[in-house]
């Protein structure tokens, strides 16, 4: 029977040999992410910055110039217009100007826009977030990312050893920073769903890393005298087929969502697609090199083995 095989049966890719190059690259990414974070910053959505978003649908293809001039004379402060999906849909963004959004979460803005555009357009979506809530959301989002990274560290530490935990955490931090970098470079809208995507990426990247770690642990027991670099290479090659397969099925699902899922969640899906790609890379090239660098106390594998045997006997 014919089988689709993305990865040949026995690969012997010397991953470890290129690790310095990869680690260097990852360092560049993380440093660049920090640099962009503090210089260019993010295109924060209203969740984090406050402000108002109104999505309208026009009967005729929307005339942005006309809309811009009509909304411009309302003196709402910073107004941005952007096509959303097709020609008929327009997204109106009004920044959080202090005097308007403070008490009524943009209700005056919405009323002014509605008075100007009237009932000739359909109001598909109206969202306003006041400064108080957006401030809290920034805090909650930051906290969520930190808590989930710590929770992963603790879990991996508990299941493996601290070296593995550290490798896992560094690979997550790498993935998060790389995704953040892309959002900053291309000034993609950064909102609450982006955080949801980041946390999903954290979970996914962890998933990949854990499978590799599990195999490394197993091989540590099996080949007690093998050089660590060789052993990591062997483990990565053995799990490569699975790593690629799972990434592909996940990407298939996400691409379906990206293409057919509509404009509202496109940036959310984009973040996840990017994160899956980077997460696959990092479980090979961040987590494992960290193990190489700090080394593993191999005696530990014996006690783990007996524990595993005991568990298997249950």
């Amino acid at each position: 029977m014919m089988r689709l095989k993305l990865v040949p049966d026995s690969t012997k890719i010397p991953f470890v040999r290129y690790r310095h190059l990869a680690v260097g690259l990852s360092f560049v990414v993380v440093i660049a992410a920090f640099a962009f974070m503090f210089t260019k910053g993010f295109n924060f959505g209203i969740d984090f910055k406050g402000g108002t978003v109104i999505e309208i649908a026009t009967k005729e293809p929307a005339n942005l110039t006309d809309l811009r001039s009509r909304l411009g004379k309302l003196e709402l402060g910073e107004v941005q217009l952007q096509r959303f999906g097709d020609d008929h849909n327009v997204l109106i963004r009004v920044g959080a100007s202090t005097d308007i959004t403070e008490a009524d979460a943009g209700d005056k803005i919405v009323n002014k826009v509605k008075a100007e555009l009237g009932s000739e357009v359909e109001y598909r979506r109206i969202e306003s977030v006041g400064p108080q809530v957006s401030g809290e959301l920034v805090k909650a989002a930051t906290l969520a990312v930190i808590v989930s990274v710590l929770a992963m560290f603790v879990y991996i530490w508990f299941r493996f050893e601290w070296q593995f935990g550290l490798g896992a955490v560094l690979s997550i931090v790498h993935d998060v920073m790389a995704t953040i970098l892309v959002f900053s470079v291309f000034q993609l809208e950064f909102n609450l769903t982006t955080i949801a995507a980041l946390l999903t990426i954290v979970g996914y990247s962890m998933n990949d890393t854990v499978v590799v770690f599990d195999r490394i642990r197993e091989n540590l027991r099996k080949y007690k005298k093998m050089d660590l670099g060789e052993l990591i290479d062997l483990s990565l090659n053995e799990t490569l087929s699975r790593t690629i397969m799972t990434s592909v099925t996940t990407l298939i699902a996400l691409f379906a969502l990206f293409i057919f899922g509509g404009e509202v969640i496109r940036s959310f899906t984009f973040a996840m697609i990017f994160g899956i790609l980077i997460g696959t890379y990092s479980s090979i090239y961040v987590a494992a090199p960290v193990l190489m660098a700090i080394g593993i106390t191999r005696d530990w594998s014996i006690t783990q083995l007996t524990r595993a045997k005991n568990n298997a006997g249950k």
Binding site: L4, A105, Y123, E127, S148, A196, N207, V210, A253, G261
Partner: protein, 536 residues
């Protein structure tokens, strides 16, 4: 690996069937659903506002003002208490958060303290805050000066009761608007969450909720005109300058004393004036209110009185004759909608404290419908692509994995229906993502079986080893997914929380289907086919 005990098979079948049974109602229309017998599940997945359309409002109860109002009325109480006790005093006033009064005669201090102490009451105790047995005010004597402060427990209790009351008023107002299935919940200490499905004009809701709607009837002060009072900056004691609702530049001088308050209203209905035909609000007082209104109007025939709503004067008609029937009419150049909204406000009652809007999100029904449609299309295309890919990669075992995948989708939808969790657009994304990752467990198992076969094991031994050895990484990998979903659930609100819910449910069900259901199918196949060799 081959052996499944009978009860285990029964249990797996039971879980699967339950999942399917709870999913079915989602594919039925309302009429069919109504005819489903009561013992069968009939709950559909709860769609989030982003899918069904509707408004989400986050309101804050501004409780700060309550204490200011309270201090004013407490000051009046103190004045009366001291007068009744025949104590001479000076400089009674509010300073910051306390009431301060200076007692003229040294020998009166004890009597004054006693009289003021007598005003204090026990606050409604709260076991959680440990405020049982505490009094609402604390009286401190310093020389000839007496300071009255509200205890923190009293301030907290008052804020809490204001929030409870606000919730009730908000509920009444939303209900009066004729909405279906609104959700009104307290959030945090001082916030109210309002979700109204199907509402496409949130601005009207905001307008109705944004008004305190404190209505009262007061006499107009005719001793001088408002213009003169403003020019000379001398406002007669006991009066204040207010403005008309209709023309915000027109001042009017109104007495502070309230003839009848809005809390005496029994009913308010929109109607039309019998002579002019303009929209009005007809109201009626309860017994006490009616008597008060009758007394005041009888004593003030020929003078104008003001109908004041939230410190703005709706109208100031002249009293033509005593109004004794306990009912009346408010006119103020209303539109039909304004008359309607005002009567809603009057019927529902006044808010104990103003509400501010912290966040509003509204999705129109058409966008919601579009989102459902694209969500379903994306789900179908994504699933079909994954299913094809699995068959292409693993042949018959791919089919086995796909059966498990389909069971998984049923279990997720069944669990969502059973738990009445809210399905949002990101939630649909979560299901699609789960479809992509759910096969991961099968991939892990199959890749392991491939390896074991390559190392020369027999079919049975390879299958056995595949399932056993892949279990640890499967559990680890899914725990990590679950952790991120749990954190997301704690953080998120609305749509994002919906994503976390489907992700978490998906992790649980996919471990069950990809490991247990899939193993049952494979073991059944092995027992029937007894394969000598296996190409995977």
């Amino acid at each position: 690996m081959l052996h499944f005990e009978r009860w285990k098979i029964a249990l797996i079948a039971l879980v699967t069937l339950t999942g399917i049974l709870f999913t079915i109602p989602n594919f039925l229309n309302k009429e069919t659903l109504a005819s489903v017998p009561a013992f069968l599940p009939s709950k559909q997945v709860n769609l989030g506002l982003d899918l069904r359309g509707g408004s989400y409002l986050l309101l804050r109860v501004e409780t700060e003002g309550i204490n200011k109002d309270r201090l004013q009325s407490q000051m009046n109480d103190v004045r009366r208490a001291l007068r009744d006790a025949k104590v001479l005093y000076t400089g009674l006033g509010v300073q910051g958060d306390s009431i301060v009064v200076r007692i003229t005669k040294q020998e009166d201090i004890e009597a004054a303290e006693k009289a003021i102490e007598a005003l204090s009451t026990l606050i409604a105790g709260n076991v959680l805050t440990g405020s049982i047995g505490e009094r609402d005010i604390a009286v401190a004597v310093d020389g000839t000066q007496i300071t009255v402060t509200n205890t923190p427990a009293a301030i907290l209790a008052r804020a809490q009761s204001a929030i409870q009351q606000s919730m009730e008023i908000v509920r009444r107002r939303v209900d009066e608007m004729g909405t279906t299935e609104p959700v009104i919940q307290q959030q945090g200490l001082d916030r109210i969450l309002v979700q109204v499905p199907g509402l496409d004009d949130p601005q009207r809701l905001i307008k109705i909720l944004g008004q305190t709607a404190k209505l009262n009837f007061r006499l107009v002060d005719t001793s001088t005109t408002a213009q003169q009072a403003l020019q000379t900056r001398v406002v007669p004691a006991g009066s204040e300058v207010l403005y008309m609702t209709e023309s915000p530049d027109t001042p009017i001088l109104v007495k502070r004393r309230i003839m009848v308050g809005g809390d005496s209203l029994k009913d308010a209905q929109p109607g039309f004036d019998s002579r002019t035909g303009e929209p009005v609000v007809n109201f009626s007082f309860d017994n006490t209110g009616g008597r008060q209104f009758g007394d005041v109007t009888r004593e003030n025939v020929g003078r104008p009185f003001a109908i004041v709503l939230d410190d703005k004067v709706i109208s100031a008609p002249v009293i033509r004759e005593a109004i004794l029937g306990g009912s009346g009419q408010i006119s103020g150049n209303f539109t039909v909608q304004q008359a309607n909204d005002l009567s809603i406000l009057l019927r529902a009652g006044a808010l104990p404290a103003p509400l501010t809007i912290l966040e509003q999100r509204t999705v129109g029904a058409s966008l919601g419908a579009d989102s459902i449609r694209s969500g379903i299309i994306a789900s179908i295309i994504g699933s079909v692509a994954v299913v094809i890919f699995m068959v292409a990669s693993y042949g018959m075992f791919g089919v086995f994995a796909n059966i498990a995948l389909i069971v998984n989708v049923f279990l997720i939808l069944g669990a969502l229906s059973l738990l009445q969790a809210t399905l949002t657009l990101p939630g649909i994304a979560g299901i699609i993502l789960t479809i992509g990752t759910a096969v991961d467990a099968n991939v892990l198992i199959y890749e392991r079986i491939r390896e074991e076969l390559r190392s020369g094991k027999t079919v049975i031994a390879a299958l056995d080893a595949g399932y056993n050895r892949a279990l640890a990484p499967i559990i680890d990998a899914n725990v990590t997914h679950f952790i991120s979903a749990a954190v997301l659930f704690e953080l998120g609100s609305g749509p994002v929380r919906g994503f976390a819910v489907t992700l978490a449910i998906g992790v649980l069900t996919s471990v069950f289907t990809a490991v247990t259901v899939n193993r049952l199918i494979v073991s059944t196949w092995v027992r029937r086919a007894r394969p000598k060799s296996l190409v995977l």
